[in-house]
């Protein structure tokens, strides 16, 4: 088993490339690999074909910084904080983003189909809606973007049910995936606690996989209870020990979201200027995740710790 531990800088430099078809793990404000996203921002990586699952400030920031060549999307909001991510909204309203809408069901199944190695994916979804009536990216434009399939979808007949028309979806070919997990070992074996979302799917489907983890444990330790492990070492390119790597989003069994931080981003991202200032302060102005943590502050991070028995930062201090 090879040791895949490296620094966040090394991991992003080596395993995320300009122009990648890329997907991030997590769900809006839960277990998003934000430390890795900040490093991607710092390193200037760009031209991504984003297969964004339920996204939030992760893709919103990359969109705001013009790092996205095509945005394949189903939902973009730090839900519960902003009702729509503001850079995403702004770029679309200004006609400055190439984007395609699928339903969340469709995108999640497309990533799952990729992990299963299916040639294409027939579904009974999106029919009767704008999701089939409108193509965000026309066939002509698609043909100019090498890593996008020529079709958003194709109607096909169900060969086992004559007369039934279903929607065939393309199966994405991921170059890179980035996920944040609770525990990983040097060889890349991962423990995911709580909802795995599409994290395992993209870890299997992507050619290059970066795992950031709350705790780095030994290869022996992680094998003690394989009912907890979710991703085998073979799928992982780099393992980076990044405590609070999902901040300001949640991490099951570890910490809650930093709602004030998310709100601050939500407010700042309403204008281009404030957005830039926010990134200068929280991303570009800091050299590393360590500096970021120090800036957030130890006492603030401590307050986010989940309350045992609740799974989130519940206030039980006033209990009778």
């Amino acid at each position: 088993m090879s040791n895949k531990v490296c620094t966040l800088q090394e991991a992003i430099a080596k395993y995320v490339e300009d122009g990648d078809v890329i997907s991030f793990g997590g769900f809006t404000t839960n277990k998003k690999p934000h430390a890795a996203v900040r490093e991607i921002l710092r390193q200037g990586k760009k031209d991504f074909i984003a297969i964004a699952g339920p996204a939030g400030m992760d893709w919103d920031a990359l969109i705001g910084e013009n790092r996205v060549k095509a945005y394949i999307n189903c939902y973009t909001a730090d839900s519960g904080v902003t009702n729509v991510s503001r850079r995403f909204r702004s770029k679309i309203e200004k006609g400055e983003l190439i984007y395609e809408d699928y339903s969340q069901d469709a995108i999640m199944l497309m990533l799952h189909a990729a992990s299963l190695g299916l040639p294409f994916l027939p579904v009974r979804l999106m029919m009767g809606s704008g999701l089939v009536d409108e193509w965000g990216i026309s066939k002509e434009v698609r043909k100019t973007i090498e890593k996008l399939p020529d079709d958003k979808f194709v109607y096909v007949d169900n060969p086992f049910n004559p007369g039934e028309k279903v929607v065939a979806l393309p199966v994405p070919k991921l170059d890179a995936a980035v996920i944040h997990v609770q525990k990983a070992s040097p060889d890349g074996t991962c423990i995911i606690l709580g909802d795995e979302f599409h994290d395992v799917d993209i870890a299997v489907a992507a050619k290059r996989v970066i795992v950031t983890c709350e705790e780095l444990v030994s290869n022996e330790e992680i094998r003690k209870d394989p009912t907890q492990t979710r991703i085998p070492c073979f799928c992982v390119s780099a393992v980076v020990h990044v405590p609070y790597g999902a901040h300001p989003t949640q991490c099951y069994d570890y910490y809650d979201y930093d709602n004030a931080f998310l709100k601050a981003y939500g407010a700042a991202s309403k204008t281009e200027e404030d957005f830039k200032a926010f990134l200068d302060e929280w991303v570009y102005g800091l050299k590393s995740h360590e500096e970021y943590l120090d800036k957030v502050g130890a006492s603030r991070l401590t307050k986010l710790k989940v309350t045992p028995g609740f799974g989130y930062a519940a206030d039980v201090s006033k209990e009778d």
């Binding site: 809606s129 965000g136 599409h198």
Partner: protein, 268 residues
């Protein structure tokens, strides 16, 4: 003593949503009003209903109000923490098995007389005046599950023709769903607004006013609806029991995350 008789239309809306859940049903909820409504339902009207969310969390019983469908508050002590694709499969299989258990709550920015909902954009899809999040799980839900639609009652939202169909309703009337490949035996059951509850005519599949609140009127509903609407079948809904209002304010959403308490009350 706090006053629990000064209920707001928003509270009335949550309670009306709650009454849409039948006992034993599985309610697909998001956050916000539907979750408040479902919590009221579970405590009062439908104690055997179960809550699930589109992220894959099955059989949730949050203590504190979650802010999103992926929130740890939904995960804690839920039945199963499924990845999203299993939720999708479950939803589809409920239809394939001809089960009538699912009732789902979806929201939107625009709605037409047949319950088609837009939560994607205002204006042309390609050059929108205002862009929203996109579908999320709503499209799949509207495909396979019966839905209750929750929307603010404004003329600019209740439109003859909406700008984009994110979640299909009854399309253009009877047979509309089937001809586009959608399950014909699923669709919107009601629209719950801050002015009342609207249902769909069994024959025409067109929206009509079924009930209005003590504080509103059929006229107010028509004034705020951008198309002709049948109000002849409308009944005035009974005001909520102060105990239900107390429960919402003190137990279900004490942080006023989704329902604000009237000012005179909160200033007390």
């Amino acid at each position: 003593m706090a006053d629990y008789t000064n209920y707001t239309n928003k509270e009335m809306q949550a309670i009306t949503l709650a009454k849409c859940i039948h006992d034993g049903q599985i309610a697909i909820v998001g956050t916000g009003l539907p979750l408040i409504g479902a919590s009221v339902a579970k405590r009062l009207f439908a104690p055997k209903c179960n809550l699930i969310v589109e992220s894959g969390l099955m059989d949730c019983a949050p203590i504190e109000v979650p802010r999103s469908v992926g929130d740890l508050r939904f995960m804690a002590h839920c039945g199963v923490q499924w990845p999203n694709v299993r939720f999708i499969g479950f939803e589809a299989n409920e239809w394939l098995h001809d089960n009538e258990r699912l009732i789902a709550f979806i929201g939107g920015a625009q709605i037409d007389p047949y319950g088609n909902v837009n939560s994607t954009c205002i204006g042309d899809y390609h050059n929108p005046k205002t862009r929203f999040t996109g579908s999320g799980g709503a499209n799949g839900i509207a495909t396979f599950a019966n839905t209750i639609i929750m929307i603010q009652h404004e003329k600019r939202r209740f439109m003859q023709k909406i700008d984009y169909v994110t979640s299909p309703g009854w399309i253009d009337g009877p047979g509309g769903r089937e001809k586009l490949g959608l399950p014909g035996n699923r669709g919107p059951q009601a629209v719950v607004t801050d002015l009342g509850i609207l249902k769909f005519d069994e024959t025409t599949k067109r929206m009509y006013l079924a009930g209005y609140y003590e504080t509103t009127s059929p006229e107010e509903v028509q004034e705020n609806t951008g198309f002709e609407i049948d109000v002849t079948r409308a009944e005035k809904l009974a005001p909520p029991d102060p105990e239900v209002i107390r429960m919402i304010r003190e137990e279900i959403d004490p942080g006023q995350a989704f329902i604000k308490v009237p000012v005179e009350e909160s200033a007390k």
